[in-house]
Symmetry: C2
Amino acid sequence: MRWDRGEGAQVASRGGRPRIGQVAALAGVSATTVSHALNGRRPVSEATRRRVLDAIEQLGYRPNVVARGLRAGRSLTIGLVIPDITNPFYPVLARGLQDVLGPAGYDEIVTNTNGERDLERHALDKMISRQVDGIAFAVFHTHADDLRPVIDAGIPVVRLGGRQALPGVDLVHSDDEGSAAEAARYLLRGGFRRIAFVCGPAAEGPAAERVAGYRAALAEAGFAVDPELIAHTEFSRAGGAEGVGRLLELPDPPDAVMCANDMMAIGAVDAARERGLRVPGDLAVMGFDDIEAASLVTPQLTTMANPAREIGRACARLLLERISGTVTGPSTEVIIPARLVRRQSA
Amino acid sequence: MRWDRGEGAQVASRGGRPRIGQVAALAGVSATTVSHALNGRRPVSEATRRRVLDAIEQLGYRPNVVARGLRAGRSLTIGLVIPDITNPFYPVLARGLQDVLGPAGYDEIVTNTNGERDLERHALDKMISRQVDGIAFAVFHTHADDLRPVIDAGIPVVRLGGRQALPGVDLVHSDDEGSAAEAARYLLRGGFRRIAFVCGPAAEGPAAERVAGYRAALAEAGFAVDPELIAHTEFSRAGGAEGVGRLLELPDPPDAVMCANDMMAIGAVDAARERGLRVPGDLAVMGFDDIEAASLVTPQLTTMANPAREIGRACARLLLERISGTVTGPSTEVIIPARLVRRQSA
DNA sequence: ATGAAAGCGCTAACAA
DNA sequence: TTGTTAGCGCTTTCAT
């Protein structure tokens, strides 16, 4: 052995970063005391604390969170597994998570899966390897099996979006049904009576919930739902235009139309104007999600804002509770209401 | 000591996660051999390797990256410090980083600073504490001092955006001057002769570069730059409208206008149409950045796409080179060209 | 081709 | 109030 180090091995570590031992040496105390002065798990005399803090300051010491994590069995890290951070919904979600996680001392590591199952599984494995303390998992097409390893590893998981509850996995999602109902009621209050709905190719997933809310609101107001007024089309601007085009051909066309998302609503406006209709005078249009463009097109879109940030926050809160053991019961489901953003199109 | 564990302490760790010792025991080899079978740093007989792999499979073993990192002195993590992931530029940047970092085995941890200096410093401290192997740092108002601790810690840093080179810090940014010149040349080729520029309140930062490129292109084509054709205004839709409004009042108004960003360009279109001008027939409009809305407004914006993803990739490459020591010289500057996105407005 | 043992930097018993 | 010692899970000399 090479004892060319000080007594007790208090020497600069890799990258010249000081370690706790150096601080201890400089302050004339043990590493333990430095540790406790830092995380206050045991009383330290005021005089000592000051000397320790001085030494820390002087050396520019920053505790090694990796070592701490290894020892403590927690990494103060949570994993965020999403399809693609480039999809505008997810950055807001990520920010919501950080709103809550940051102050609690947690950081998040983000992985994109492109919605591919292999990559999802791989991402989950990676999160286990990285000893994350919790996982926020935003995926729709996932088999419960894929989450097995994570659950077995005892890592709390919160699923974002989707509907079916997975055993042992909490769920946070927006209130699609309620929001659609609110949107429909809003149109009803505005005096519109033939309200159509332009939804996706198949009535499944969130879109189905939205249709359900629409039906519920009409029924509740005593209106029958004319099946002709539900148009299936693609989830795109062109799809929206096409769907609304068909609705406007009807013998008794709608005076308002709700779209499953904002892109479709933008297409709906295209179609209406193409036919010389004024929006919302001749045809009111409502979107869903409140994407950035919703306020930029003309007329600006009235829409239900997807509460991404709130979802992120709720997810983070849940995660922290699971991690701390505050909550231990069976899977929870948290439903976040969307917000009506009133603009010129309805 | 409690030797209520197997011989040599091969017992399930926290959360029931198997550790290397368990794999070793099951495969009938030492932990050392498992380690080598896994990262191939030394030959392992085919038979042994198979047994190890089987054991790993059977136990669902996943190496603890935290422990590995502590031992190896590298965390396989890079830190991304940005103002706000909610700003659409950054998610794309983050994705670009991951494009390169992911395959190299790195993950990224993201922090938002809201552009506040205190939070920036705090974020950097955190990154040191977390032992990241590199940092991508996207901030404009930063003193070189703030990066001192990181540099002292021997952590490679790449700055994103900004212009002035900081000692010891590589820089990656878009070619604002070149892009603006390209945009101007494009308009020139289109036959436009009185090309105006709507820029921000003060001519500094990227906006200044863009003005410079605009001037250069005009000069190169043998046109004088009429100072009247440079309008200073706010970086917003309203600002763009206002600036173009002023330009159109001129005795000899422009036939084309370049805007410092897309929001301003959208405002420019507003102003033109308000005055009954056709775009691009009577007034061609160019934007900058290619935000999502650029393709959604009518007419769609011709614009220079901010090469965020490419910037992210270049940054990641640089970081990996610095980490591996492939590159050791002085600070590098990488300039990424923007891409002309031709649409209906010019 | 394989093992034993030391140690990355820290915290938590256990002692004093 | 403080220190000593062991060990988190892994990789890496050094030895065989």
